[in-house]
């Protein structure tokens, strides 16, 4: 029953129709409070992304950001720019600082961190073997509480060679990497690289609900995770386009470069 209520609610909100909540149950009241916009970037100003919201992670991290990813992240205009109302992250095949590819990874760490809320983006994804875009979050205490202890919520992950499927996951102590709690969502008669789609979570005390467009496709609660629930504290947002890595595999000769990930907006509600 609880799942049913949430599904109906999400449909209302996404459709932009919210009716009176005075007579709603406790649960719906809790969700309804997630309609107050607290952060938004519509990417309406051309140039570099708004530095008050977005920082960068540069380079290759440790072991390709822990995943044997192949790209070198930069903050160059060639890899990340706001243009015509979109944040455009571009993965390029080019020899750069010892890597064969370049791309970008934006983070709100230290700039925007929040506990609970509705985190939503509207994106058009890239395509082709080896492309790995993601809209995700990490626990803000990651510097003192290393991954996976800090927790990770993957609102959207996608493999370029599976253009109809996205995944939503949580990682934490005892359920990280290949053992993450995860569910996929498949589009029927459509793809994620040919048009824009909405990816979001509804996150509250002891639950994370995952939705694509107007479809709620999963709810994860402490009962679902095989370890400690670490999602009752602030998280920050990441948007990146990785190339290669263990999750997706390397690009091959058929992968077309450059590849772009278009972000129409990022909105956070509480």
């Amino acid at each position: 029953m609880m799942g049913m209520n949430i599904r109906i609610w999400v449909r209302f909100v996404v459709a932009g129709v919210l009716i009176g909540i005075g007579s709603c149950s406790d649960y719906e009241q809790t969700v309804a409070t997630l309609n107050q916009l607290v952060m938004q970037d519509e990417f309406d100003v051309n140039g570099a992304p708004n530095s008050e919201i977005w920082g960068y992670e540069i380079g290759t991290g440790v072991n390709g950001w822990g995943n044997n990813e192949l790209q070198y992240y930069t903050n160059r205009r060639e890899n990340v720019v706001v243009q015509n109302g979109y944040l455009i992250i571009t993965a390029r095949k080019e020899s750069f600082e010892g890597s064969a590819y370049t791309s970008a990874r934006l983070i709100t760490k230290g700039k925007f961190e929040q506990t609970y809320g509705r985190f939503e983006t509207r994106m058009r994804l890239p395509w082709g073997q080896g492309m790995w875009p993601a809209f995700w979050m990490l626990g803000a205490d990651i510097d003192t509480n290393p991954w996976p202890g800090c927790g990770e919520i993957d609102i959207m992950e996608y493999r370029g060679q599976e253009p109809t499927i996205v995944l939503g996951s949580v990682h934490g102590p005892g359920y990280s990497g290949g053992n993450a709690i995860s569910k996929s969502y498949e589009l029927k008669n459509d793809r994620f690289d040919t048009g824009f789609h909405v990816f979001g979570i509804e996150w509250g005390p002891n639950y994370v609900n995952f939705y694509v467009d107007n479809v709620l496709y999963n709810q994860i609660t402490p009962a679902d995770v095989t370890g400690e629930w670490v999602f009752n504290k602030p998280f920050y947002i990441l948007i990146n386009l990785a190339v290669g890595g263990t999750f997706v595999g390397s690009p091959n000769s058929e992968t077309v470069f450059p590849q772009t990930m278009l972000v129409d907006y990022v909105r956070v509600y509480k």
Binding site: W127, G128, Q129, G160, Q161, E162, P163, T164, K188, N189, D190, R191, D193, T194, E254, V256
Partner: protein, 465 residues
């Protein structure tokens, strides 16, 4: 402006219809509505869809196709194709078209799909749709489609569905023996679908290369290597060969070269033009640069009495059977080209010449009564001091086949001092000059430049007395 005009025309049309109605006092006739063809997407589910026919190719094993009610992916029946073995008296291959000559409107679909399996792993030579035994205007082909012994779904995307308003060719295939052996394959649930996941079109002409063609006024050529590639929902990039009519061609200089809807390039003046194409608004990768060399001047027409001539290549005589004008001897030969038609004249045109052979061993030729070899050559490029053309004759000797220790060959070399550019050079060389030990089993004529000369035109190759 455009939309305003459209509105006026609608008002006018409405007024006309209303006027017609009030005067004639009868209902709108069906003539007012455009004729619509069936949008039935099915080709073969458990039997022939309405209007579908089976028409085998000439030379195909006639009973290569059967409706199989034992083996099927789903439902009650599938299509079974029995590919003959090499030497099968019932036919050399299996091939057929499945048309609906009532025509279908396929504009609402993006792919032909089916499930298939085979009695052994194999690759079907050609499979697709749009073959109607007529113009084949919108023919689409997948080459070497690999099938296995497990039922698998296959997707053949439509390069541009908007073109298929009245298509008769719903399915076709042609397949020969696999390693000499016959086998069977089954196709089921054959239908057009709107998958919504056929995406990221990447059309190409000349297989995506930037080609250069040197040619003459009045010598048309066809656009080749026309493909459309889509990314499918399983991540596969599926390429199909697409008919020229799917493309819109554009010439940078219509005064030099112009392209017809069916992809034939006509050369109308000396000069240069670059031809590119789009498919459904997407720029095709690849181009062809046409260098028109102007009017072609034919070689002098031979006047020798045919009774005294054994001709290998000439429009003036009846030629002996020739196996090839270019043997493409890998890996040392770079020479491209062969016999071409320029205007009304058949000539041989070689490019990237290092050496090349014309061979006529079925049968070999007895030159015992002949005294000379004649050939006209033209070199449409500058002559440098070290350039040469060597002509070599090859005789297979008494055993009449290549090798065996009795072959003889010899060459005559024409140095740069005897060569001129852009004009026919007529050569009459005594056969004695080739120093052959036998001339009774002649089988080969070589042209050799060792890459000193790249492009060579050849005409009127004959022996005479």
């Amino acid at each position: 402006m455009k939309s305003i005009r459209l509105i006026y025309s609608r008002i006018a049309l409405f007024g006309f219809i209303a006027f017609t109605l009030s005067n004639c006092e009868r209902n709108l006739s069906e003539d007012v509505v455009f004729a619509k063809f069936s949008t039935n997407p099915t080709v073969f589910i458990d039997g022939f869809s309405a209007g579908l026919e089976y028409r085998p190719f000439d030379g195909s094993k006639l009973d290569a196709f059967a409706v199989d009610t034992e083996v099927k992916y789903r439902g009650t029946a599938s299509m079974r194709f029995d590919v003959p073995y090499e030497g099968d008296p019932s036919g050399a291959f299996a091939g057929a078209i499945f048309p609906d000559y009532g025509n279908r409107d396929l504009t609402g679909y993006d792919a032909l799909t089916f499930w298939a399996k085979a009695s052994q792993s194999a690759s079907i030579n050609e499979i697709g749709f749009g073959n109607d035994f007529g113009e084949n205007r919108y023919i689409v082909t997948v080459n070497n489609l690999r099938i296995s012994t497990a039922w698998t779904k296959y997707i053949i995307p439509i390069p541009d569905p908007s073109k298929l308003v009245a298509e008769a060719g719903l399915f076709w295939f042609a397949e020969g023996p696999e390693n000499g052996n016959g086998y069977s394959f089954w196709i089921d649930e054959l239908k057009f679908e709107r998958l919504g996941t056929v995406a990221q079109p990447r059309p190409a002409i000349f297989l995506g290369q930037n080609a250069v063609v040197d040619t003459y006024i009045g010598t048309p050529f066809s656009m080749t290597g026309l493909t459309q590639t889509f990314n499918l929902d399983n991540g596969v990039n599926q390429t199909v060969r697409a008919a020229p009519a799917y493309f819109t061609f554009k010439s940078t200089n219509n005064d030099v070269a112009r392209v017809s809807e069916d992809g034939v390039v006509s050369i109308v003046a000396r000069g240069t033009a670059v031809i590119t194409a789009t498919l459904a608004g997407v720029r095709a990768q690849g181009s062809v640069t046409v260098n028109s060399l102007g009017n072609f001047v034919s070689a002098p027409t031979p006047t020798r009495n045919p009774a005294n001539v054994i001709s290998v290549f000439s429009d003036a005589y009846t030629n002996i059977p020739v196996d090839f004008y270019n043997g493409f001897f890998a890996p040392f030969q770079t020479t491209l080209g062969g016999a071409v038609r320029i205007g009304n004249d058949n000539v041989i045109r070689y490019t990237q010449l290092n050496f090349v052979a014309t061979e006529f061993k079925n049968p070999t030729v007895n030159l015992s009564q002949m005294t000379h070899f004649h050939v006209d050559i033209q070199i449409p490029e500058g002559i440098d001091a070290g350039d040469f053309i060597a002509i070599e004759l090859g005789d297979f000797g008494p055993n009449n086949v290549f090798g065996g220790g009795d072959d003889s060959s010899g060459r005559v070399t024409i140095g740069s001092g005897s060569l001129t550019s852009n004009a026919w050079i007529s050569l009459d060389i005594p056969l004695a000059s080739f120093g052959l030990t036998s001339r009774n089993n002649m089988a080969q004529i070589f042209f050799i430049s060792d890459a000193t000369i790249s492009t060579l035109l050849v005409d009127n190759m004959y022996f005479y007395r």
